[in-house]
């Protein structure tokens, strides 16, 4: 078990199973098919991301370095939050990028959903955490992985 400390972007607490993307998480490519066709498990549709391709994303602790790709990314995250199909939390090893930040903030300000977002957890966090591990997010930005 290890605990990592990051910066709170959107406050909140949760415990969830980790889903780890070692490379950049392409929000549009990951979500578009699942959202469009009502996939209840919200399986990742990004063929270029072998870490999480076809794996369910809903309710997971999504661990990633950053998001990449289309500038619809934030809008897609906002839609996922509004439709209650968001991950349990998003945990960034690096500084959050502008698209993910937009989606997280839009979800926080304009919906009643809570998706805690922590960034700057460090490269070691992403090296340590594995898909399937239990992740607990505390209110102060501490992330415990076991």
């Amino acid at each position: 078990m290890r605990t990592f400390h990051g910066r709170v972007v959107v406050p909140g607490t949760c415990t969830a199973e980790a889903l780890v993307s070692r490379g950049g998480f392409n929000t549009l490519a990951s979500y578009q098919m699942a959202l469009m066709f009502g996939d209840k498990k919200v399986k990742c549709g990004d063929q270029n991301n072998p870490d999480i391709y076809k794996k369910p994303m809903i309710g997971k602790a999504l661990c990633l370095p950053m998001t990449i790709g289309s500038t619809t990314g934030g809008m897609v995250l906002y839609a996922a939050c509004s439709l209650h199909k968001q991950p349990a939390c998003m945990l960034f090893s690096k500084h959050i990028d502008s698209l993910a930040a937009s989606g997280a903030i839009l979800g926080d300000v304009w919906t009643d959903q809570n998706m805690p977002v922590i960034d700057q957890l460090g490269d070691e966090f992403l090296e340590y955490v594995q898909t399937g591990m239990k992740v607990t997010v505390a209110a102060d930005g501490a992330v415990t992985v076991e």
């Binding site: 098919m33 469009m36 066709f37 950053m66 790709g69 289309s70 934030g74 809008m75 502008s98």
Partner: protein
């Protein structure tokens, strides 16, 4: 963040709760990136990435209704990404049913919202809003509130305007408020190159392949590229701008690049030279082998990789007038060599409506029409966002389209061989 008294009043609700939430969103967005103040949007027009009325994205249109119903004064006018539907593009009866009944059933509602919010007009739907014919060409140094990754990277890099990689919705909020948080690519420091890319290719690199390789390597960073002026020259003429449009789109979609500098060519690289490179910039060498390996790593997700292509898209991002003319010449020449009158694969070239109107004034339009190629204003990415396309073998020279859909990527030269019947797909 230090707000002006006017901005603080908006945040405190002087224009109502909804406007306060718009400003709160922008403040939180800026604070996440250490912005210390808001800066005015100075461009004439904005640009929104959201052009589609997708049923599943209903929460977004509900949010826009909330903004409109609150009676918030309209912000700057804006262009929007291409429309998702065009009856001229080949589609089966089943696809048309899926498009209209199930997927884009919010299109009419959303376009009505865009009119009220300030879209420039029916011709304002394109991802390449910066073309002269479209008229949303910012000036160097303008601060923009745009989204659309390919347009943002073009505006920053080729024009020298200043825009962050904003998300859809946020960009409209910046246009409504008239200010955006100052951070990242809006600052001199944020525009410095943190990578130096050295090109050692023996032939002119394919723009969308080079962009892909660099985007995947540098991700969200700013690359300074040496050696491309060898092929593009040192003036931003039509050919160079077309190349950089396609190159940039690939850097932005395969990675998250919002700005690049091309040595001796793009405005800031020309003015500042190597002073624009940050200390301790990382380095990356691109040669023909790197490009070939990049291409080989693309997955082919067609059910049957050997099936004959059913459709070809060229123009993601939208083609320019000069590209339409050049491709017309190339398709005609290719058909002549293969002894055909018309293309071997149904093919769609996409371009903005104002460019298509200009194209139609030239003799090229009739010549291209004779080859069987369809010219459309559609967004190929939106067209392909349906489950039926998963089993449809679509080919493209667009690395952006490849990234987001099941379309298979080929170089422009290979696409030309395939559509003119000079070569079968492998």
């Amino acid at each position: 963040m230090h707000l002006t008294p006017e901005q603080q009043a908006l945040l405190d609700g002087s224009q109502g709760e909804v406007m306060a939430k718009v400003v709160k969103t922008l403040v939180m967005y800026g604070e996440t990136f250490g912005a210390e103040r808001m800066t005015p949007v100075t461009s004439t027009y904005g640009h929104t990435v959201i052009s589609f009325g997708l049923g599943v994205m209903k929460p977004i249109y509900d949010l826009y209704d909330t903004i409109l119903d609150a009676g918030i004064p309209a912000g700057q006018k804006f262009t929007a990404d291409p429309r998702p539907l065009d009856p001229n593009v080949p589609a089966s009866a089943l696809e048309n049913l899926v498009f209209k009944r199930f997927m884009y059933n919010q299109q009419a509602r959303y376009e009505a919202q865009l009119k009220r919010l300030g879209v420039t007009g029916d011709d304002g739907y394109t991802c390449a809003c910066y073309f002269d014919e479209v008229g949303n060409t910012p000036k160097r140094g303008d601060v923009l509130s745009w989204a659309e990754s390919s347009a943002v990277v073009y505006a920053n890099s080729v024009i020298g305007a200043r825009c962050n990689r904003n998300s859809g919705i946020i960009e409209l909020m910046g246009s409504i408020a008239g200010f955006v948080p100052e951070f990242g690519l809006l600052t001199d420091e944020g525009r410095k190159a943190t990578w130096v890319v050295e090109l050692r290719c023996k032939t002119r690199p394919e723009p969308q392949l080079l962009g892909s390789a660099i985007g995947m390597k540098v991700m969200e960073d700013v690359p300074y590229i040496r050696g491309l002026d060898k092929w593009l020259g040192t003036e931003l003429n039509d050919a160079a701008k077309d190349y950089l449009k396609d190159f940039g789109a690939a850097t932005a979609s395969n990675g998250a690049v919002g700005l690049y500098h091309i040595e001796n060519l793009t405005p800031e690289a020309k003015d500042l030279g190597e002073d624009i490179i940050a200390q301790n910039a990382k380095s990356f060498v691109v040669d023909d082998m790197v490009l070939e390996q990049t291409r080989k790593n693309y997955p082919v997700i067609w059910k049957d990789p050997d099936v004959a292509p059913k459709l070809c898209f060229v123009g993601c991002p939208h083609m320019s007038l000069s590209q339409l003319k050049d491709w017309t010449d190339a398709v005609e020449a290719g058909l002549k060599e293969s002894g055909r009158d018309q293309v071997a694969i149904p093919t769609v070239f996409t371009a903005p409506v104002p460019v298509i109107k200009e194209f139609e004034k030239t003799p090229y339009a009739a010549r291209l029409s004779k080859t069987g190629v369809v010219v459309s204003y559609i967004c190929p990415l939106m067209y392909m966002n349906n489950p039926l396309c998963k089993s449809k073998a679509v080919i493209t020279s667009s690395n952006k389209l490849r990234t987001y859909t099941s379309a298979r990527y080929y170089t422009e030269a290979d696409i030309l061989k395939l559509i003119t019947g000079k070569e079968a797909a492998k």
